[in-house]
Amino acid sequence: MASQNPSQSTSQSSGPATGDQRLDKDTRETLVSVARHGLLLAWSFVVLFPLYWLASMSLKPPGQANALPPDWLFLPTVYNYIRLAQDGAFLAAFANSVVMVSASVVLVLLIGVPAAYVLSRYAIPMERDVLVWILSSRMLPPIAVVIPFFVIFRSLNLFDTRIGMVFMYVSINLSLVVWVMKAFFDGIPETLEEAARVDGATRFQGFRKVVLPAAKPGIFSVAIISFIFAWIELLFGLVLTNFEAVPVTLFVYSFIGSRSIEWGMLAAASMAMILPVVVFLIAVNKYLAAGLSFGVVIKE
């Protein structure tokens, strides 16, 4: 079937497509282009409308936030943001998230990057199985993982601590870091380190001074992607914290239970959570596909 493809497709396309071909080529191309841009605009609207709505809610004065029909024109106010900045619980949760997630990213890089280097450069017995095993840590549903850790953390006094949360955040990103960095190291020619070794550098120096700098874009992007995955995590905060180590996701969630929801403040809190990540995503845009695909799509 596939081998006959050329002859078949020509005969087929001249069949049903005759009507089409009467349109001259320019018109057809214009039509395709119009359809393309129409669809892209439609999806842009789908993407932007909820975000626009959230942003406008956060900037509306209280009482106007949920007016229907919507007040499309309104005088923006930073009232909600000011109230948010005075809210101790929000500030604590936001600071917690920044500290815990950043620490987890540093730690996961320290653990994952050297391991990825070894997986890339040395002959590992059953390498494929090892890699699938590493990936399997991502397959485990967090809820199944968190129950044992809930019990253990209580007895080790790690419950509701930042250290415990940092460990959990490391656990969700380690497989990603190892896979992506292995792919990046695979793409760095070994001759570079060999040259350094000839010049008298030790293995470790070769790694630190030659390989790591060459892998910088990979490290940068995998760090940001790990940050995002930890930043948006709710379940661990819900189960393993209750006061001291509450992350910002749990703060946003806690709005839902309260009887009279302050929509404007909720919207402002959500915006505060989203905006840094948008900046990060744009910063890492070029390597996002490589990172998200666990290093399989390495080009571009």
Binding site: P6, V47, L68, P114, V132, L174, L238, L281, F294
Partner: protein, 311 residues
């Protein structure tokens, strides 16, 4: 005194040298050991501990004091625990969201890749990844506001601009709402990987098929997609795995309700553990879920294989 310090420094110097030699000679082991340690801790330990919790009466650290109850907890889980219902709900959500996100992601990637203006292309590429910045729980709260039957802007707009009555998103079609929110959130993931995959298809390949006169859909089906097979495989595999982890968007949106209409397995386990206070039942469902997800992922990996992915 001075001689003593002298000898001390020399011994410590040789000590340092010995340590340094040890460090460099066994470098690969030092490098990989922490990762292996953490991996063992996060893969084998939770499964084993879930298994242990699932066959005893009450959680206890003393293995010998624990009262063994056999498969009682499993019977409870699949009896009044509603585990079966949760598995069906989960599979429904995972399969439909995965299908939607794959098709939409690919369609968008193909559309964007065809835009002539480079600048416009990178504009769309950046714009379309933004939903990923929204944490599922934030998305759930946004959804609660915008989809609310009384104060929501989306039901309002539907009724104001179309002749149709807006459905009650959170009470009549909660499952569909969950799928649609997840699609909004994670289609960018598929989009950006497919887009990178599409841009790696050599132009000559596309040119050749265009000269053949093959219609567009045929070109994609027989030339582009086979070329991109590893990319498609990896993107769907990772998204599949991640979909089984879904929690925040549903918990924030409906908390499994109304009733048990959106009670995913992860939410069922959470409620058994923290609302019903029955860790044994929670652990029993967790064990089944764990085996279920790992088995599915491994079957997919074995069936499709990583050929071309890392060889």
């Amino acid at each position: 005194m001075s001689t003593q310090t002298q000898t001390e420094t020399t011994t410590s110097e040789t000590g340092v040298a010995r340590l340094r030699a040890l460090w460099n000679d066994y470098l690969p082991y030092w490098f990989i050991a922490p990762m292996v340690l953490v991996m063992v801790l996060i893969t084998f330990f939770p499964g084993a501990y879930d298994l242990y919790l699932s066959v005893i009466e009450e959680p206890t650290f003393d293995v010998f004091a624990a009262e063994f109850v056999g498969l009682n907890n499993y019977a409870t889980a699949f009896g009044r625990g509603g585990a079966m219902h949760s598995f069906i709900i989960t599979v429904t959500v995972v399969v439909s969201a995965l299908a939607l996100e794959t098709v939409l992601g690919f369609g968008l990637a193909a559309l964007v890749a065809g835009v002539e203006s480079e600048r416009l292309q990178s504009f769309y590429r950046v714009l379309f990844i933004i939903p990923m910045a929204v944490a599922p729980v934030s998305l759930a709260t946004i959804g609660r506001i915008m989809l609310n039957s009384e104060i929501g802007v989306i039901p309002y707009l539907i009724e104001a601009t179309t002749p149709f009555a807006a459905p009650a998103f959170l009470s009549e079609i909660p499952l569909l709402t969950v799928v649609l929110l997840d699609t909004w959130n994670w289609t960018p993931f598929m989009f950006i990987i497919f887009y990178a995959g599409l841009s790696s298809v050599p132009d000559t390949l596309i040119e050749a098929s265009r000269v053949d006169g093959a219609p567009l859909w045929r070109r994609y089906l027989h030339v582009v997609i086979p070329y991109m097979k590893p990319v498609v495989f990896v993107a769907t595999l990772i998204r599949l795995i991640d979909l089984f982890r879904t929690f925040g968007v549903v918990y924030g949106l409906t908390q499994g309700g109304p009733g048990t209409a959106t009670q995913l397995v992860s939410i069922n386990i959470y409620e058994q553990m923290f609302i019903n206070n029955s860790p044994g039942v929670a652990a029993a469902i967790a064990v089944v879920y764990l085996v279920f997800v790992v088995a599915i992922a491994n079957i997919v990996i074995a069936k499709v294989g990583f050929e071309g992915v890392w060889d």
